[in-house]
Amino acid sequence: MPERTLMSPEDMQRALVRIAHEIVERNKGAKDIVLVGMQTRGVPLAKRLATTIQSLEEITIPVGSLDISLYRDDISSLHLKPVIHRTDIPTDVTNKQVVLIDDVFYTGRSIRAAMDALMDLGRPQSIQLAVLVDRGHRELPIRADYAGKNIPTSRNEEIKVYVKEVDGEDKVTILSPNKGATDEND
C-alpha cells in the first residue's frame, strides 16, 4: 500500500499559522477564546495555535484537551478504539468562544461527541471548529470553520497525520489500497 505525502512540515506549519490568523480575525481578537484540542493529535496542534495567537495578540490563551471516548455512540466496539485519554480544560468554558481543534475531519461524529462533552462541561457562548485536514464524507450536518487543507478522498483511503510531538515528525499522508499509484479523485 503506497503512502504518499500530501503535506510537508512546512505546508503544515503555514496552514496552522493561517488558521491562527483566521481565528483572531473572525473573533475580532483573542479575548474569551479557549482552544480545546481533541485527543490525541489535536492537542499539540491546539498548543501550536495558542503559541501563534499569543505572539499575535500578546495574550495568553487557555488550551485544553478533550477526550470523547465516553461520548462515543459505539461502546461495543470499544476494543477497536484507543483507551481514554485525559480531558483537562483549565478554565470554565461558560460564555467563552471555544475553538475545537482536530487533525482530520471525516464523518463529523467525533465532533458531535465533542460538542456533547463541551455542553456537559459548561455553556460556551460559541463553538467553532478548526481542522488540519478536511477529507469530506460528512454524515452529519457539521462544518469546519477553519480548515488547513481540503483533501477529497474515497472511503477506502486513509489519511494519516503525523505530528512531531507524538510521532516525531510532521507530515500528512494518504494511503490508497489499490496497487500502483492512485489518481487523486477530483
Binding site: V43, S65, D67, S69, L70, Y71, R72, I75, S76, S77, L78, H79, K81, P82, V83, I84, H85, R86, T87, D88, D116, A117, D120, L121, E165, V166
Partner: protein, 336 residues
C-alpha cells in the same frame, strides 16, 4: 478533618502512552487473581478519567446509554450496591436493583433460575453479591451477559481490591515494594483475598495479621502453593505494623466471638485494635484504609478512623470511579 490531597505527581504525562485497550481480556470481573499488571493499570487510567467526570457539576456521560445493569444482591449492602448503581447511572445506563430478601429468590427459586429470569429481562451486565463462595463461577455458566462479582462469600471482592489499590496509588504514587498490612478476620475475608492477588500482582508486600483462630489453617500452604513470596503472616500486631506504608483493619463481625472463634471482644481490642499509638510504628506517610462499614472502637479507634492518615472516605469516592471504569471496560470489552 484535614484530608490528604493526592499527590499531583501521579497524573501520567500526556506523552506517556497509556496501556492499549487490547490488554483487557475480561468478559467478567470475578476476582483479581487473573488480572495482569497491565489490566490493573488500564483500570486505573480509566478510573482517572471517570474521577474527572465525578468532579463536574453534572456527573454524567452518555457512554453506557441503552445498556441495562442489574444488581442482584443476596447479602445486604448499602455502600457497595449504591456505589455500583451510581456508577451505572453516571454512565447513563439503566439500572435495576434486586434485593434477594424481598424477591422471589427467597421463595426457593434457584440461583440459576433467577439469573435466567434476569437475563431474559434484558440485562447487559449483572452485578452480583452472594453469600456462597464460588456463586459467580456457577452463574457465568448460565448467562450470556457479563458479570461483575460484588462479593461472593469469603472468596473475592475484586472491585473493592481495585479501589484499594487505586487509592494507594493516588496517594503514594506507586504500589511496588510497599508494605501493606491487613489486620483482622482473614479466614472470612473476601477483601483480604482479592487484595492478596491485586497487591502481589502490582509488586507490593502483604502482611496478614490476625489471631490464630481467624487465620485459615491452610494459609501458609496456600501462600507456598500459589507462589506468593511477598505475602507473610503475623499473629502479633507490632511487627505487622512496623514500617507499614498502608494499614487496613478489617471489620470484625460480632458473630465471630459468638461462634467461639474469639474468647472475647475485649481481648481482640487489646491485641489488635488499630490505635494512634500502634499506628506510629508505621511509616509517617502511612495510609489508613478500611473496606467499611467500620466498627469504631473495635478494630479501629475513632481517633485513627477520623485522623489525618485516614483515607476511608476517599475510598468510597474512588469506589464509584473504579466501578465506572469496570462497567466501561466490561461493556465494551472483548467478549462474546
Amino acid at each position: 478533618m484535614k484530608t490528604i490531597e493526592p499527590s499531583s505527581s501521579i497524573t501520567t504525562p500526556e506523552t506517556f502512552p497509556p496501556p492499549s485497550i487490547a490488554v483487557w481480556q475480561h468478559s467478567h470481573v470475578l476476582d483479581l487473581d487473573d488480572f495482569t499488571q497491565e489490566e490493573i493499570e488500564l483500570a486505573f487510567e480509566i478510573a482517572d478519567a471517570m474521577a474527572e467526570v465525578l468532579t463536574r457539576e453534572v456527573k454524567r456521560v452518555p457512554t453506557l446509554r441503552g445498556k441495562t445493569v442489574i444488581t442482584l444482591f443476596y447479602e445486604p449492602s448499602t455502600r457497595t450496591r449504591a456505589s455500583f448503581e451510581l456508577a451505572a447511572k453516571n454512565l447513563s445506563a439503566d439500572t435495576v436493583s434486586l434485593d434477594a430478601s424481598k424477591s422471589s429468590i427467597v421463595k426457593g427459586e434457584s440461583l440459576i433460575d433467577s439469573l435466567r429470569t434476569i437475563q431474559a429481562l434484558g440485562a447487559d451486565i449483572i452485578v452480583m453479591r452472594h453469600s456462597q463462595s464460588g456463586a459467580p463461577y456457577l452463574a457465568i455458566q448460565y448467562v450470556n451477559c457479563s458479570m461483575i462479582n460484588a462479593g461472593d462469600g469469603w472468596h473475592a471482592h475484586p472491585s473493592q481490591a481495585l479501589l484499594d489499590l487505586y487509592t494507594i496509588r493516588r496517594h503514594l504514587g506507586k504500589l511496588h515494594d510497599l508494605k501493606v498490612t491487613i489486620i483482622g478476620d482473614i479466614t472470612h475475608s473476601r477483601v483480604a483475598r482479592s487484595n492478596i492477588w491485586g497487591m502481589t500482582t502490582m509488586g507490593a508486600k502483604v502482611v496478614l495479621c490476625a489471631p490464630p483462630t481467624l487465620l485459615p489453617r491452610g494459609l501458609d500452604s496456600f501462600i507456598a502453593n500459589c507462589q506468593l513470596p511477598n505475602v507473610s503472616v503475623e499473629t502479633e500486631i507490632e511487627p505487622a505494623l512496623e514500617n507499614a506504608d498502608v494499614v487496613m483493619p478489617l471489620r470484625l463481625q460480632i458473630e465471630r466471638q459468638q461462634s467461639g472463634l474469639l474468647p472475647s471482644l475485649r481481648e481482640y481490642i487489646q491485641l489488635y485494635q488499630l490505635t494512634m499509638e500502634r499506628l506510629s510504628l508505621a511509616k509517617p506517610h502511612v495510609l489508613v484504609m478500611h473496606p467499611g462499614p467500620i466498627n469504631e472502637g473495635i478494630e479501629i479507634s475513632p481517633e485513627v478512623a477520623h485522623g489525618t492518615q485516614s483515607v476511608i472516605e476517599e475510598q468510597v469516592t474512588n469506589g464509584v470511579a473504579i466501578r465506572m471504569a469496570l462497567l466501561y471496560l466490561i461493556a465494551g470489552g472483548k467478549n462474546k
